[in-house]
Symmetry: C2
């Protein structure tokens, strides 16, 4: 029997951190959606870094760089964190570097767990199957916004809880997992409409990212799970 827990913000992650757990990093608007989209479009490897300093050091060595802070692409980077930046053939077989306000920090933070995988609505089905087959404790790590709670990451965590909680192996579903599931139950019919009050979505509307939000909530689906191996995200082989 395994536990299914949700770290509602990165600041709470250390309460759940364990070397034997599988961690799903969740940053729906937009880092983990963009990462899953990049792998579906053929990227070979993505190196997540927490700071801009590390990111520029890689770029000086010739790597393509995706960099975002406060919802906007960093000037001089090759991409931001819009999933649309990662569609097409231009990344096929390439290794890129990525740094974002919240998502890549959450990846960094969880690296001492048994396995870190990247989740989004892009790959939700394979993530669910993987977590069931893993036979391990699961922590859903919501990247949030600058250590605070946000609706969209928790809503996605709730979508995972909704599909996992019925499996007998997850006997211990925490209060945080339950509230995520309630949130998803409230949102599932029309998540775009549901998020209309989200502070993050309001911020992103200012940035004119309506299409990114629609895509992030109802994307093309992928069968690929990005997994952290030796400090870089690669495709999980199954």
């Amino acid at each position: 029997m395994f536990t299914l827990d949700v770290a509602l913000t990165p600041r709470l992650y250390s309460l759940y951190a364990h070397p034997d757990s599988v961690v799903v990093v969740i940053d729906i608007l937009r880092a983990t959606t963009a990462i899953c989209t990049a792998f579906e479009n053929g990227v070979e490897k993505m190196i997540p870094v927490a700071t801009l300093e590390e990111a520029w050091a890689y770029r000086e060595k010739g790597y393509l760089l995706g960099a975002e802070r406060n919802g906007e692409k960093i000037e001089g980077a090759d991409f931001g964190n819009s999933p649309y930046d990662y569609m097409g053939d231009h990344l096929k077989g390439k290794t890129t570097v990525i740094t974002t306000t919240n998502g890549t920090r959450a990846i960094e933070m969880s690296k001492d767990s048994h396995q870190v995988i990247i989740g989004s609505f892009v790959n939700i089905d394979v993530v669910v199957n993987h977590l069931i087959q893993s036979k391990r404790n699961v922590v859903l790590l919501c990247a949030g916004w600058k250590e605070k709670f946000n609706l969209e990451d928790t809503m996605f965590a709730g979508a995972l809880v909704d599909r996992l909680a019925e499996h007998e192996q997850f006997a211990d579903v925490s209060d945080a997992a339950l509230i995520a599931r309630y949130l998803y139950a409230n949102a599932m019919e029309d998540p775009y409409h549901f998020l209309k009050n989200s502070s993050h979505r309001k911020r992103m509307q200012k940035l004119n990212l309506k299409e990114d939000i629609r895509y992030s909530l109802n994307p093309e689906r992928s069968e690929i799970i990005p997994v952290l191996k030796n400090g870089a995200l690669v495709q999980l082989s199954r």
Copy 2:
């Protein structure tokens, strides 16, 4: 215009802490319910302390002591944190000391704000009115369970958000406040039934505290707001 925010667990409080804010400490099962009940039953003053060491030091000086850890009364204390321990005439005009697993630590943590008040379903109506009249930023601080999220404190925070968010003065309602409100909307028809999956409630059922839970969710109502003044809880004069 003011902000209305919810610290979903004490570990998140520092993200919201501000010397000009009013903080409502919430520990529905059972510290803040018990404190409100004690004031309704005539207690004069309650000294909240975070550690058992401080608590015993007070008791040696002759104070009555309410002390709970992990849901159970500490042996040798005069009371635990059941609201039923604080009903009747035995506390009228007295000063007592109280220490609990979560609630009294949350009080300690928030003492540098403009004002710390104690909220529960016992005094929800007067708390709502006070927050509207305060014309300040409000932080609802959920005591949770050992720094983790719990359903019942967030549900009560949601009940407050539900009544406050319609007031124009609270222009900025955060994602954390919104999820609390959704939780309350899901729970309000039958909160006792709703909490049946709560880990805390399951723990408390083991301790045979069904009556405490029923009372905490649907108590006799009080018009008294306990407020922290010079390190002790007293009745807010209005």
